[in-house]
Symmetry: C2
Subunit: 193 residues, 2 copies
């Protein structure tokens, strides 16, 4: 029901190559990277790009969702391989890397282009549960402070990275590390007031 006819093998290859090429191009040149460049990186013609992604924005959306999925999947993998606190810390750095490749996407998201309307929802719907699970587990194990809300943490880290300044390399990374350090300790004062 989901797929009326199976995708041909060469098409599957090209789609994968295009997603990888687009990811690289967006990281290098921002979301405005020309379609021709992406096609060249993937070793295909522009016609092939448009066969699979009828509009440029479809490619942007696909790469974004692909990376959200990968970042979501990383949560379960890290949880299986590390202590709860370590898994949380590693995932937040992984999430930082994800955000770091989104240069220019923030502007596109707020540009009002309806092509990108679904992205914030996709983002929240997948990443929030992933983080919540890691955080809850870490808190239960006494390896993260209990007074932090995942709904605060996710955009906070994103903001740290979105406004990352080219003139201060590593700034975002340092700030996120700081946040993680704070997160994995108990509050300095009882969080009353």
């Amino acid at each position: 029901m989901t797929r009326s006819r199976p995708v041909r093998a060469d098409a599957r290859r090209n789609i994968d190559a295009l997603l990888a090429a687009a990811k690289a191009a967006f990281a290098d040149s921002g979301v405005d990277a020309p379609v021709r460049d992406i096609a060249a990186r993937a070793g295909v013609g522009v016609g092939t790009v448009y066969r699979h992604f009828p509009q440029r924005s479809d490619l942007v959306v696909a790469v974004f969702q692909h990376e959200v999925d990968a970042c979501t999947a990383a949560a379960a993998e890290l949880a299986a391989e590390h202590t709860p606190g370590e898994a949380l810390a590693r995932w937040l750095r992984r999430y930082t890397e994800f955000i770091a490749t989104k240069r220019g996407l923030a502007a596109a998201l707020h540009s009002g282009d309806p092509a990108f309307d679904a992205l914030p929802g996709y983002f929240d719907h997948h990443l929030r549960p992933a983080l919540k699970s890691l955080l809850d587990t870490a808190v239960a194990a006494g390896q993260a402070r209990p007074d932090v809300d995942p709904d605060d943490l996710l955009p906070a880290v994103a903001n740290l990275c979105f406004f990352d300044d080219i003139t201060r390399p590593g700034h975002a990374r340092r700030m996120v590390d700081l946040l993680i350090d704070g997160l994995c300790r108990t509050p300095r004062l009882p969080s009353s007031a």
Copy 2:
């Protein structure tokens, strides 16, 4: 010293026509309005546009500053013609109109294009003193509550408008009116903790 040679009369006319045409085009189609459209509205050729505004972004910047200037000047005019509270309220609505024509500019401002680096500073440097003066006068006259900071008010109103939803016409206007109503009354509770 400021101008080595005076601007020729026809050039002056065209510059004014271009600023007006660009303002209208930006309001209709956003900051991405094509240069050809703007030239046509102004009744000039594209060459003329580029003579006076070497890059597209220069035209955007010029229109923006032109409108900031007009909005700043309105503060003094309103202060001379109305009671302090009324002048404040009218100016805030005037400011709302200014923001409303900025569709797409917010995204451009945050896109990292260095052409727009100076705009936020220009904005603050001119509009903040204008509002502060109106607000102080209204507070002194007992026509506005004293516990509101102009540095809060200016971005607050801007945010109300920047995220104005096309699907809910008049939303921003209503929210700003609400804000003004609150501003011109005394706090409901002593503004302690």
